[in-house]
Symmetry: C3
Subunit: 428 residues, 3 copies
C-alpha cells in the first residue's frame, strides 16, 4: 500500500485541536474529544451509568471541572488549571478554602528530579484534592502566610463513555485496535494513540477488499476497557484473531513490540514478521503487567491475543506522565510511520491463510499453465520461479503464509502476486 | 565396514564409458546408460509410453539424435554434436536449413561470464531448436552471410525408461536411493550420482545381514521420478523409512546434507548423526525447492522422508550445467568417500531400533552375567562399562539408538558390541 | 528461613564420631552408624535377610571384620586395618597364611599416580581377599622372603540394613532424600552425604508447616537402594514429587546439580530455580550412569524424578575413593551451605502450586481491598504492586509459581507475602 504523504499534516491538525481539552476517565472533556474524532472515523459513543457494576469494578461518579488555582500569601495566582490542566490532580474533589503552608504542602505534587516538569497525578478512587507544580515553582513558594485553594470541580451521577466503530470485512474474524482516551494535555502518552488509531481506520477503509473485520475502540484506560469487555468480552473470545493496544506511538525511538501473554498468537506473529522484514531496528518484549489495557485483555478469564506496537514504552522515557510529554517530544512523521506499519501488519493478517495445493502429488506442470519460463539457462534468475514452487510445495494445509515465507526468511507480502496466479490457475 | 580401496578405479572405469553417451529424459542414450549400469547392479528397466498421464504430467515423445552442426559463411563446421553433445539444445526438434545471422542468433546460447564454457540447455516441453557454444567461439562468428543449421533428431512415440532394483532385507521397511540419469556429458551433475548409487548397491549387498530393504532408482529427473512415484508412491508412503537423492557427489567440496521437508525424519537423523561424528567439516541445509527430485518426493501429497547428501550442491559451483563440469572437476577418491558415508548411514539406519530393557526395575546385576569387571579400582577405565549401563538405562522403549548415543554425544556405531552382548544375555 | 549458625560445629561433632567406623554394605559398622544418626533424626532401622531376591539381585552374606594386617619378611607389620580401615579390600574373605611376594603382589592395590594415597577397593560379589597400601609403602616392600597375611573377617548369613524416616506433611505428595552409607573412613564421599541428610531433617522439621511429606533414606549404595525400592518402589511411583541423592556435599567446589533423567521434573525445576537465583556460580549437568543411586531411581521401570545436588561430583576430584578424601578435604561451612540450599529447594517445592485467580475477568480492583497505593505518582516504586498484578495475571491454573516467577526472572521465594495477601483477600 502506498504511503500517505499527507498524513503527518493531518495528524498535526487534530493533535492541535485535541491538545487543550482536559480529559479524564469520565466527563465532558472525554465526550468532546470523542466527538472531534468522529470527523475522522464513524465512532458510536457508548455510555455506562455511574454505579454500574462491571466485573469487579463500579463505574465512578462523573467528574467535571471548570477552574482551579492557588492564591499565594505574596499575592501570586499559581497552579492555574486554565494555563495547564495538569496543575490539578485529576478527579480532585471540589475545594475552596484558606490553608496554611503546612496543610497545602500535603496536597502539592512536584518532582525534584525533573525540576521544570509538572507531574500528572490522578486520584480516581480515593476522594482527594491536590495540585501539581514544577519543583522550580515549588521552591519559590512562601513557607508562611495564608494560601487560598480553589478547585471548581464536581463529582456527580453521570456516565462513562467510550467510542467504538466497526469496519466490516468478508468474515467475522476480527482485529481489534484499542487505544485509551482519558489523559489531559500530554502528547506521546496519550494523544499519539488515539490519533494513530483514528487514521489507521482511514488506511484500512481504503483497502480494495477486506477479509477481516476491524474494530476500533477509544476508551478511558482500565475502567473504560473493563466496561467495554463487560459488554464485548464474550464476542471477542469467539471472534478475535488479533488485537493491539495503541499508545506511545509518536516519539522518535525505535519500534517496540510487546507480545500478548500467549507469545505466539496471530497478533504476535504478524507484528513480529513485519518488524523482522522491515529492515529497521526494533525490539520485542514480553507481556508484563507494567503496561496498559493489554492487562485487561490478557487477564486469565479472557487471555485474548492482544499485543502492543509502540515506540518508546510508558515509563521508559523521562518525560512520561509530566508536562514535558508535549508536542516537542513527538514527531508526526514517526506517528505516520507507525500507522503504515500497523497497516502492513493488517495486510499480513489478511493474507495469512492456510492454502491447500490442489495438485499435491508431485509438482504441477507449470509450463502448460504459462507459469514456467520456456527454457532454463544458467543465468536465468530463478528467484520468482523458486518462490512459486516453494509456495506450492508448502501449501499442505498445515502451514500458513507466515510459516511459508519465514521458511525462506522473507516477507509474506512478497507472495501477493503468486497467490493470485495460483488461485487463477486453480492450483489453490 | 572396511573401506573398499579398489573403488576409485572402478568408478573411473565406468565414468569413462558412460561419459560420451548423449542422454536425455527419453531415448536410446538413456537406455544404453542403464544397460551399462546393469554390469554393476541388477537393474530392471521399466518403461512408460508416450502420452501416458502421470499425475499432472504427460510422458513426452521419445527424442533421439544422430548428428547436429552449423556451417558458417566462412566455411567452418562448428557446434559439432559429435565433438560435444552439449552443443545441441537437448530435445531440439529437427532442422536443416539456411539462416541469416540475425535468425541464428536467436537460437544460440553462450555465457559471456564464462567465455570458455558451452552451456547445457534443454527444451523438453516447448518445441524448439538451438545450439550452445562458448562465448569465445560466438565472438568469432561472422555477423553476415548465410549459415546452414542441421539437427538430425527425431521426436516420436516411444517410451520413457527408468532402472530400478531392490536389495531385500529381513523387513519390508525400505530405504530408497534415487539418482537421476538424463544429462549428457557432465561429470558432477550428473554422472557422480548414478556411479555412487550403483556402487553403493555393491557395498550394501556385501553386508552380512540386512534388516532393511533397499531400493535403487535411476530415472530421468523430474518426469522420470514423477512416473516412478505414479507407480510406487503408495507403496513408499507405507514402507519408506528413509530416502536420499544422490547427485553432485564427486567434487572436492565438503559434504552438504539437505534435509527432508520433515526436518527430523529418520533419513535426516541418520545422515546428520554420521556427519556430526565423522569429525569432518560439513554443512546441513534445509529443504528448498531449488533442487532436484526431492521436490517430487517431498511434495505435499507424499511428503516422504527424503533428503540428499551431496558435496557442493547444484548451482553453488560455477561449472554447473556447462561443459566445464567435466572429469577434471571431480575426484574418484571423493566419490568413493561419499559412498562409504552413505554406507555408514545405512548401518545407523540398520541399528537404529527401539530396544527394550527386559530387567527394567533397577540395574541388572551385570556381574553374574560376566558383564562387570570383578573389582573396581580408581584407575579402571570405566568407559565401556558406562556405555553398557547407559544403554540399559535408556532402553525404555521411547528412545531409539540415535537418541541413546546422542545423549553421550557419540556415534551409534559404537554400540554394536554392546547390543550383541545384551541380546545374548537376554537383557534386551 | 534463618541460617543455622551452629550447624558447622554440630556437623563436625558427628563427623568425628562417624569417621573411624568401618562400614560396608552389610554388617555391624553400618548398624552402628545408623544408631548414631538416630541421635539426629528418628530413623527406623530396616533389615533384609541374606539370600533374599530383590529384583535382579540377591542380598549377600553379612560381612564383619575384626582385624587385618601383613607381616613382612623384614619384620614390619604393615597395612594395619586398625590404623586405617581402607587397608583391607572391603568384603575380603578371611585369610591367614604365608605367601611369597609374587603371590602377595596379586592381592595388593596401590596407585602409582598418587603415591601417598591408600586406594579404596571393594569386592562385594566375587569372593576375594586383598590389601590396599600407598604406592610409597609398596616401594619399600622386600621382593623376597615370606609374608604373612591375616584378615580376620567373616561372611555369614545375616541381614542388610537401611535407616529410614518420614517427616509428615499435610499431603501425601513426597520428597525423598536418599544418601548412601556403606563406605569406610572417607569424608566427601561419603560422610558428607549422611551428615547433610540428617541435619536437613532438622531444618525441615523446624518449618512452621509443611504441605509435603519428606522421606529420608540412609542405605548402602546400589544393593541397599535396590532393596529399598523393592519395598517402596510402587509407593514412590504414586507419590514422589521430587527426590535427591545427597553425596559429595562437603568440598569447597561450586555446587553442581545433576538432573533427573526426565530433565524437567519438579526436582530439577526447583533445584535449578534456586541455584539460578542464588547468584552463586554453579553447574547443571545431565543425568549419566557414571554416578550413584540415581541410577536405580531413574532405571526404566521407575524413572522417578530424582536428581542430585552436589559440590564436586564423584570421580571429578583426585582424592576420590582414596585415603586422601579426609577431613582436610571438606569444610563444615560448605556442608552447612548445601543444607541451607536444600532447605530453600524444599521451600520452593512447598510453594510451587497451581493457584487460580478467583476474579479472572479483567484485573480485580485492588484499591477496595487495601492492596493498591491511593495515588500513583511518577516516582512511586511500582515493583511490589507489579509483582502482585503479575501474580494475579498469571494464576490461570496452567502456570505454577516457578513459571510465574521465572517470567519475571526472579525467585519464587519473593512471592510469600503476595500469596498470603491474595489468599486473605479471597483472590486465590
Amino acid at each position: 500500500m502506498q504511503e500517505n504523504k499527507a498524513l503527518p499534516l493531518q495528524l498535526e491538525h487534530y493533535f492541535d485541536r485535541l491538545w487543550p481539552i482536559c480529559r479524564s476517565i469520565t466527563g465532558e472533556g472525554l465526550r468532546e474529544s470523542l466527538r472531534m474524532l468522529r470527523e475522522i472515523l464513524p465512532l458510536e459513543i457508548h455510555e455506562v451509568t455511574t454505579g454500574k457494576q462491571v466485573f469487579d469494578w463500579t463505574i465512578p461518579s462523573e467528574w467535571n471541572i471548570q477552574d482551579a488555582y492557588i492564591l499565594s500569601p505574596d499575592g501570586r495566582r499559581i497552579a492555574e488549571f486554565k494555563k495547564n490542566n495538569l496543575h490539578v490532580v485529576n478527579y480532585s474533589i471540589p475545594v475552596n478554602k484558606k490553608v496554611t503552608w503546612e496543610e497545602l504542602e500535603k496536597h502539592l505534587h512536584h518532582i525534584p528530579e525533573i525540576p521544570n516538569a509538572i507531574p500528572y497525578i490522578t486520584s480516581y478512587y480515593a476522594a482527594k484534592w491536590g495540585f501539581c507544580i514544577s519543583h522550580e515553582e515549588w521552591l519559590t513558594l512562601p513557607r508562611e502566610g495564608e494560601y487560598t485553594v480553589v478547585i471548581d470541580s464536581s463529582l456527580q451521577e453521570g456516565v462513562l463513555n467510550w467510542g467504538e466503530c466497526v469496519l466490516p470485512g468478508e468474515t467475522e474474524e476480527e482485529v481489534l485496535f484499542s487505544t485509551y482516551l482519558c489523559h489531559p494535555s500530554m502528547a506521546n502518552n496519550e494523544l499519539s494513540g488515539p490519533l494513530a488509531t483514528a487514521f489507521l481506520y482511514q488506511q484500512l477503509a481504503a483497502l480494495p477488499k477486506r477479509r477481516l473485520t476491524y474494530r476500533f475502540l477509544f476508551a478511558p484506560e482500565t475502567i473504560g476497557v473493563i466496561a467495554f469487555l463487560h459488554e464485548r468480552g464474550e464476542h471477542l473470545k469467539k471472534h478475535l484473531t488479533a488485537g493491539y493496544v495503541l499508545t506511545c506511538c509518536g516519539d522518535s525511538g525505535q519500534m517496540t513490540y510487546k507480545r500478548s501473554k500467549h507469545r505466539h498468537s496471530a497478533a504476535d506473529r504478524a507484528a513480529e514478521h513485519i518488524l523482522k522484514h522491515s529492515g529497521k531496528p526494533h525490539r520485542i518484549i514480553e507481556f508484563a503487567v507494567g503496561g496498559s489495557d493489554e492487562r485487561q485483555y490478557c487477564s486469565p478469564g479472557f487471555n485474548l491475543p492482544v499485543g502492543s506496537l509502540m515506540r518508546t514504552p510508558y515509563q521508559q522515557y523521562r518525560e512520561y506522565h509530566t508536562s514535558l510529554d508535549n508536542k516537542e517530544l513527538i514527531s508526526f512523521q514517526a506517528l505516520s510511520e507507525i500507522i503504515h506499519t500497523y497497516t502492513a501488519i493488517c495486510q499480513v493478517l489478511e493474507a495469512n491463510q492456510l492454502f491447500v495445493n490442489q495438485i499435491p502429488f508431485c509438482e504441477p506442470q507449470l509450463g502448460k499453465r504459462g507459469l514456467y519460463p520456456s527454457s532454463v539457462d544458467p543465468v536465468f534468475n530463478r528467484s520468482e520461479l523458486h518462490r512459486l514452487l516453494h509456495f506450492l510445495s508448502f501449501t499442505d494445509g498445515t502451514k500458513d503464509l507466515i510459516d511459508i515465507a519465514e521458511w525462506r526468511n522473507e516477507s509474506a507480502l512478497l507472495y501477493d502476486d503468486i497467490i493470485r496466479k495460483c488461485s487463477n490457475a486453480g492450483l489453490i
